[in-house]
Subunit: 607 residues, 2 copies
């Protein structure tokens, strides 16, 4: 039945040779790889306003210079990542760049941050997508968390089915979203220029504001940086581009940067001009759209595309997390199950882990994007910084032609990223302190996993000159509870294994033991019976002592003990509760005993 | 670590021969066996007032005639149960009496009702005990459910430790409770007689009341009958009395009846005279006590003893449920695990089941006694009625000396109990309808369990003339994933089992298969390797097909297949997640396959 449900949800299994990569042209690549970055404009501008709102309405004009600062950062990032694209045409994730150029520890920090980051991508994007939905339909607002969780479940199932990131259908929402936001910005600006719009009575740029401080401005700046999450995606996916891959990827990155910058600046400017104030139950984008268009078809189109692109952004997390987990597991820093391809050829364990973890985050933070975003941004800027520093190390080491210019570009990127990162820790320590605990914690775990795998490999390796071990003495122990059909079969099986079979009866009273001994003699099955009186009504402990005695007697490498345990298989599953699970206990207990093999003899009831 | 926690909570295991029964004298027996019945006066009178309050304050005088009716019922029950005591000196629970005299089905109905009833005893008593506590300390009222659950957990642990029902310390609270309620009644009456008390302005007895109906009166009457729950306890425990057991038990029953009647009548009368109105957050008993004494030391003493006796009453459920479950399991109507004595000689599975079930009830009903009590009372009056009817059948069949008088007494008891039962179903169907579903449901389950055990016994029985089966052909299959230390050991073990060993390698690509074949040849371990290409990356399905092929080839009773599965045992438990649990999957999958034995070969990592 479970299998049927699985088939229904996931689909039929695929053969390994059905695995294939599709090469992307620029138009499709832009759609597929930029949904994470572009969707960030749905919540980035709002974060700036939320911080400024703590000072007051008068401070909103500061969003404009802050936005310019973020634009500069964007340009620096695009230029830096362009260099990574050319330097790593096979895909230059932060894990790889940092590991190759800065050493394993930095690679692991980058990798670990990215893993957490992808979980946050899913949680933040889905939560923000839900906000877009419930802004349009306020009646759904109380169900925010439930809707977000349901969305994650649907995305997880689709990914387990093997939804390809490159499916053509996924390209539409991105272009529709660009169209929708373009419409907002163009119409908004047109209204302003033609004087149709009502001014929001905001303070003019340059108005002095009481209570504003550098701290607040830095905080607002770092909050706005969340709009830059996702710009690294293209540099990770260079091999997916059509040839010449690096050139095409570089161009796509530049186009994406321009679109992202334009949308971001447009939204910030319009929000300022219209005097939008962030609200708990309606997004800034929704307010802006309903301000410009009213709550008509265009408004709902904008909200729908916003929601769709955010869900797509979550989906990029589902492409990236399992792949990175697989790479790190290949390097023996993550558990090996992450390398297993599921029925539909996706890395199912990675997909499921990501799904569970992001649902957990949504539940813990009640789907509240405002609390998740700072952590998300920190998680992004750590690998950003490490990638840039890694590139600096690379240029210094390799010194290719024109390395000085390249160095300066990456150095600028690194310094700005590092500055943003520090700003986070200084201005938002209350929300990002967890990252400080997580990073050394993760490093420790990755190292422990690695050590374990090296130890295992070491222990499993057979030296070339080793001789095959020979077992000369094989003792078979059959615990019996009476003389029944199952015992008869188990004894027959045991006799086929070895000459040396002994049955053990563990009785709770002298009477039961005497009776058993008498019956056994009468039965005469050709196997000796040992009886043990268990004063504490335990089967396991006397059996364990008995086996220890045998082990002690034949204390050598050539002796093996097999315990044959019969297992009842009832016709109906619920009938299992009607039997003492002694076989299960024996198996669980002796599983960890050296030189003792547990053989489960199945006995199927016919009725 | 788990074992340590268990030892700390439960204590060291006890030997079977440490099991001993203590005989009770009358003073101790009264304390031990009447806590359930006597504690009922803590909630019984209140139930009458709650029903009358639906009509109005004016109707409260009806509580007096209703109380008299309940007293008559009490006398009838005491007389009937006195006869059961003499007729069943070895303990005459309703399950036994009904089963012997009316047949298995009625016995099972009585037994099932009692099992549910004991769960309700625990839930109701603990909830009422919590009410006594939070009446005294209103600040704790919001934590009612949490306190009740914590109490059940403590009682469960104490019972797992083997808290003897006959521990002397348990006798004090009962006598203190009698003292406390005696004090309330005596001082209350004294105040009334000396004119110190303020009359509650209640309507005089006989005042006509608008809106009163026979339906309401019957409902109030049946609600009050909840004060009689627990009177059967003494008749179940006759063998625990000192000799002459039936005589002593009979006397104790009579004394308990008198005390119960006096306390019940006293509380009803005082509540009427003082005009106490039932409240949601304070019990009637607490109101009465604070009315008479004020909130001083005596008041807190009364509340404390009330709480204690209610917890003790819950504890009687913990003595009775596991014992009845054990008896029914002995008769093969309940799962066999209920017959297993735990480390401390208690029937641990029964104790745990009762603990879980009563916590579940408390959570579902939010610890609200008012909703639990009707169901509880129905659960009590079904076995009451069946016991009496069983006795009638017994007298009619055996006709001992003076049987006519005995018959009349039990007939009266049966008729009254049946009348009360019908009253429940007529007046409180909204609260007791579940009982109508439960009873046939339980009967069905008991029957299904019984049938299963009979079937199993039938299948396990060896005919006297049966010949020992002989296994002549033993094929050992070793799934291998590479050439490692574990594989080497497994192959060596397999070779010691049979001449007929085959290793199976399941590869996901042709390259890996070719490489493995080459390596295997070079290794030369003396065992043939079969390689299978798994297109769907599954280990289980190709292995299963391979084994099916072998089974098909040697389709006879003398062939057994053993699959040797190596099991990694890492040094630290968390390292388990670092390995694909293929061994576990293979074991789980083939566990249900006939003629296939799964042998788990343990390989312990040293580091």
């Amino acid at each position: 039945m479970l299998t049927k449900l699985k088939r229904f949800l996931i689909g039929r299994p695929l053969k390994t040779n059905e695995l294939q990569e599709q090469k992307l042209n620029k138009i499709k690549a832009l759609a597929v790889l930029s949904s994470d970055a572009l969707s960030s404009v749905a919540y980035g501008p709002e974060q700036i306003l939320i911080v400024l709102a703590t000072v007051g309405y008068m401070a909103f004009w500061y969003s404009l210079p802050i936005a310019l600062g973020i634009l500069i950062l964007l340009v620096a990032l695009i230029l830096s990542y362009r260099q990574i694209i050319y330097a790593y045409p096979n895909g230059g994730g932060a894990y790889r760049v940092a590991r190759e150029n800065l050493g394993t520890n930095y690679g692991l920090i980058a990798g670990g941050s990215l893993l957490i980051d992808y979980i946050l991508t899913v949680a933040v994007s889905v939560s923000a997508g839900t906000d877009a939905l419930t802004s349009a339909f306020p009646g759904l607002h109380p169900y925010n968390v439930a809707i977000a969780v349901a969305l994650v479940i649907v995305i997880t199932i689709l990914n387990l089915r093997g939804l390809s990131e490159s499916a053509t259908v996924l390209a539409y929402p991105v272009y529709l979203f660009i169209l929708a936001l373009g419409l907002v910005i163009v119409c908004g600006l047109y209204d302003i220029l033609t004087g149709h719009a009502t001014h929001g009575h905001v303070a003019a740029v340059g108005t002095p504001v009481a209570g504003i401080s550098l701290f607040i401005l830095l905080k607002a700046f770092s909050s706005g940086c969340s709009a830059l999450t996702g710009v690294e995606a293209i540099s990770n996916a260079v091999p997916n581009f059509k040839d010449p891959a690096p050139r095409n990827a570089g161009k796509t990155l530049a186009i994406m940067g321009c679109i992202l910058g334009a949308l971001f600046l447009g939204i910030i400017y319009l929000s300022y001009w219209y005097g939008i104030v962030p609200k708990a139950d309606e997004t800034v984008l929704s307010q802006l759209a309903s301000h410009i268009f009213g709550r008509n078809g265009i408004y709902y189109f904008i909200q729908a595309t916003t929601m769709m692109i955010l869900v797509l952004a979550a989906n990029t997390g589902f492409s990236a997390f399992p792949l990175l987990a697989n790479n790190m597991a290949d390097d023996k820093y993550m558990p090996r199950p992450f390398t297993v391809r599921g029925d539909r050829l996706g890395y199912s364990n990675g997909i499921l882990t990501l799904g569970f973890a992001s649902i957990l985050l949504i539940l813990i933070f009640h789907g509240n994007t405002e609390n998740l975003i700072p952590l998300y941004a920190v998680g992004v800027f750590i690998p950003f910084t490490l990638s840039q520093v890694g590139m600096i190390a690379k240029w210094l080491r390799q010194r290719p032609k024109g390395w000085a210019v390249k160095l300066v570009i990456n150095l600028t990127g690194a310094l700005i990223c590092f500055f943003v990162l520090m700003t986070f820790f200084v201005t938002k320590l209350d929300k990002v302190w967890m990252a400080i605990l997580f990073i050394p914690g993760m490093l420790f775990i990755f190292r422990a996993i690695h050590k374990h795998y090296l130890n295992v490999a070491d222990q499993l390796r057979i030296p070339l000159d080793s001789e095959m071990p020979v077992i000369t003495n094989h003792i078979v122990v059959v615990p019996v509870a009476g003389i029944t059909r199952v015992v008869e079969r188990s004894i027959a099986y045991a006799k086929s294994l070895s000459e040396n079979v002994v049955a053990v009866y563990i009785g709770f009273s002298n009477e039961s033991i005497k009776e058993m001994e008498k019956k056994w003699e009468a039965w005469d099955c050709g196997v000796r019976l040992v009886t043990i009186h268990s004063q504490y009504r335990s089967i396991i402990h006397p059996l364990s002592k008995f086996i220890d005695t045998i082990k002690y007697k034949f204390n050598d490498e050539h002796t093996m003990i097999t315990v044959v345990v019969p297992q009842f298989i009832p016709k109906r599953w619920w009938e299992m509760v009607l039997h003492n699970q002694t076989a299960l206990l024996i198996r669980a207990y002796f599983m960890r005993t050296k030189n003792v093999v547990i053989s489960t003899y199945p006995y199927t009831f016919k009725k």
